[in-house]
Subunit: 273 residues, 2 copies
């Protein structure tokens, strides 16, 4: 990892969090779900009005970084660029900054994916904004603060509510619940990140004839959750085996989805890249 890589101290990504990122798992020298990551990034850029000069080169840069051989995580950061001008107003003709950072990848432990994760309920409530919802933007202080709520390494994640009292996601993962054989996940109209893995799971479930539903989920329903799993680009599908101290069984639909997703996750399907 090029620990020494630097950017301008005048980058708007630093000053305002004025940019976006993608976390891309790269296996056997190839980025996983690259097309989907680049698509979400392009949508985010469009929403923020960041004009990438050569969007096509992003994919090539990620592929190049992945090709080093060892499995890795490539974090792709795009900011609005560096400028000597002070203030929120976006200067004309700014050149976006593109950063391609490599991190070591450790596959999630098999026992975690098999038996599931212990999950707590967080107390920080996520702020809401239809302008920012869904995007993987660089304004992530709430996630940092939410992750500081616990240090017990036996707990893997914290579920978070929005200010208006709906279940949204984990600090670094999306959440799914199974209710009456329907696969449900929060709507994310006002906060949260529309995870790539979340989208892949929803799509794969529908293809397999599983009914899915994105809906507003009142936080109070947490007590009645019977089957639950988390998704993220790094985790894939991870069952929840304990929620707020209450044991949960790993459900049949969770197992079925793990099996359905497995070929896509091993990067052998030849679907991306």
């Amino acid at each position: 990892m090029s620990r020494e890589l630097q950017i301008s101290a005048y980058d708007r990504g630093l000053h305002y969090g004025d940019g976006l990122f993608e976390t891309i798992v790269c296996l056997r020298g190839r980025p996983r779900f690259l097309r989907e990551h680049l698509e979400r990034l392009a949508q985010g850029c469009a929403r923020l009005g960041i004009a990438l000069r050569t969007p096509a080169s992003l994919g090539a840069q990620v592929i190049g970084a992945a090709a080093h051989g060892e499995d890795c995580i490539v974090k792709l950061i795009v900011t609005r660029g560096a400028t000597a001008e002070r203030g929120y107003r976006v200067p004309r003709a700014l050149d976006p900054t593109v950063l391609v950072l490599r991190y070591p990848y450790r596959a999630p432990e098999a026992s975690l994916i098999e038996t599931g994760m212990r999950v707590r309920l967080g107390s920080l409530r996520l702020s809401e904004s239809e302008r920012l919802a869904g995007m993987k933007h660089l304004n992530r202080l709430e996630q940092v603060l939410a992750r500081e709520e616990w240090s017990d390494p036996a707990i893997g994640e914290s579920l978070l509510a929005s200010r208006s009292g709906e279940l949204i996601s984990g600090t670094m993962s999306n959440v799914f619940i199974v209710r009456n054989d329907i696969l449900e996940t929060p709507l994310l109209a006002l906060c949260g990140v529309r995870g790539i893995m979340r989208g892949m799971v929803l799509r794969r479930a529908r293809t397999a004839g599983i009914e899915t539903r994105e809906r507003a989920m009142p936080w109070s329903e947490n007590e009645r959750i019977g089957e639950c799993f988390l998704t993220s680009s790094v985790l894939g599908i991870c069952p929840v085996r304990e929620l707020d101290g209450r044991p949960l069984a790993v459900g049949a639909l969770t197992r079925r989805l793990q099996a359905l997703m497995a070929p896509l996750l091993t990067n052998e399907g030849g679907e991306d890249g």
Copy 2:
């Protein structure tokens, strides 16, 4: 200005907006309201759990940057630091990053301070979080988007509401209104930045026997605003002469506060630095 200054691409300020900033006007080689800026920064660091190793050296660095002679703006940025670790969790023993950036200072035009600013009403609604409210943190995407709502150079600022429908501030200034001879300003319990100039004006007003009130201000009250001004470290006190197309007279209390603040703003009072 050291346009070439760089920071690590692995800085959490860039990755998450995990840090704070201060914008300090420096006149005749001395930073204005330095003690207050450093105090707010220290409070922000405490709220975010950023442990500055040598907080006392910050002031010296700002004083050093200001001493170059020409009036300037020093932007002080403190982030949680750079790390090779990926993820929101804060690694132990991280060394905060401190950046002292100099920008040219242009005093606000005398005519603007005299006759006032034309101000619009913004449509972006600020998200709410008691965890982040008041701080000058680096998560500023909403301000960037709000500043993109207008390009007419005759309009100087945009007033913004919170999601729950209260008047909060401008995109880069705090707002005061005068009602029944009482100086009122939004409470900022759930969003907005507690500006240094806002605090100085409130304090100076109280000392002069002017009644002040921080309160929740319903956005609908905007129509009834008669006397209004903006404050910021750069602007000082700037009257609003037009709000959403409606002309406002510059009021007597605004003029009185401008006169009361003038000695503090010229940096001749010897109160700071």
